[in-house]
């Protein structure tokens, strides 16, 4: 395997849990600004790397502040970074849907992101990462064919 930048999977899960909770709270109180805010946080992770993600930084801060002994679980960065890109795109579309007042459609997409982030937080199953790996395999299949 080639050398790639590593990230902490538990940090990703912590950040995903935080974003899921924030999106659900935003939905309950109809804070539409929460969706572009989470989208922006995902965009930072996607564009600059997960170590710069505010969500991951919050996890690291909480872990340090409360001296939580959660082990670091290294994982290669490309799949979760791709997943963050997907999350950013969906949150971006949801935010755009709020502009003409299509709130139901916007919140549906936001809740989809919240659900997937919640799944990642609780199980470690990253649907975006699975899509990335599947796409990589499909690409390899095309090259071989």
């Amino acid at each position: 395997m080639s050398e790639k930048r590593m990230v902490d999977k538990n940090g990703m899960r912590g950040g995903a849990g935080l974003s899921a909770v924030l999106l659900l709270v935003g939905f309950v109180f109809q804070w539409r600004a929460m969706v572009p805010a989470i989208g922006a946080a995902l965009a930072i992770g996607s564009l600059f790397g997960l170590r710069y993600s505010p969500l991951g930084a919050t996890y690291r801060f909480v872990k340090k502040a409360f001296r939580l002994s959660i082990p670091v679980e290294p994982e290669e960065e490309p799949p979760p970074r791709f997943a963050q890109t997907l999350g950013f795109v969906v949150c971006g579309i949801a935010s755009l849907l709020f502009i003409p007042g299509w709130n139901a459609a916007g919140w549906t997409l936001a809740l989809l992101v919240a659900g997937l982030q919640g799944l990642l937080a609780t199980t470690g199953l990253c649907i975006g990462c699975e899509i990335y790996l599947y796409a990589q395999r499909f690409k390899a299949h095309e090259v071989q064919a």
Binding site: S2, P78, G115, L133
Partner: protein
């Protein structure tokens, strides 16, 4: 407000239900079928092992590293087990033939390379040991409770 709380709880409930379902399936060994050839495994000669453990891995696949560590440890403990790792991206033909849809996927083969068990995801160490050694290795049930052929001598 109440309707929104109900929707938020429903989304959370659906997420938890999916999580429970996924955890039950993740790394679970199911009975397999089919047969590998030495060419599939990329080896010229199989040393008549008691069992062959085949792992399909992929580049960028973090769970594959966890599985590799576990099978490395178990292979060191269980005599006669031959471990073969196959890059699913580089050996798409073999992966397709054995219906490998995600990585990591593990196969436990008998000495004649017939598939006994298969699992996708990250099985626990105990599940791998049980798949290799049979239901009675430590008085434990077979991977899914069903008795199956004992593989290791």
């Amino acid at each position: 407000m109440i309707a929104r709380i109900i929707i938020a709880v429903a989304v959370s409930g659906a997420t938890i239900a999916l999580a429970v379902l996924w955890r039950r399936r993740e790394g679970r060994f199911d009975e397999g079928s089919g047969r590998f050839t030495p060419a599939d495994l990329g080896v010229v000669k199989i040393d008549r092992p008691s069992a062959v453990l085949v792992e399909f891995y992929g580049e960028d696949c973090a769970p594959c590293v966890t599985v590799e560590k576990r099978i490395g440890k178990i292979a060191a403990e269980v005599p006669g087990v031959q471990v073969v790792s196959i890059d699913a991206g580089a050996r798409m033909d073999v992966a397709d033939r054995h219906e490998v849809r995600r990585v990591p996927t593990l196969f436990v083969l008998d000495p004649d390379l017939h598939v006994i068990w298969r699992a996708s995801g990250v099985p626990s160490e105990d599940a791998i040991r049980t798949a290799l050694l049979g239901p009675d290795w430590a008085g434990r049930p077979s991977p899914n409770g069903a008795p199956r052929q004992r593989v290791a001598r």
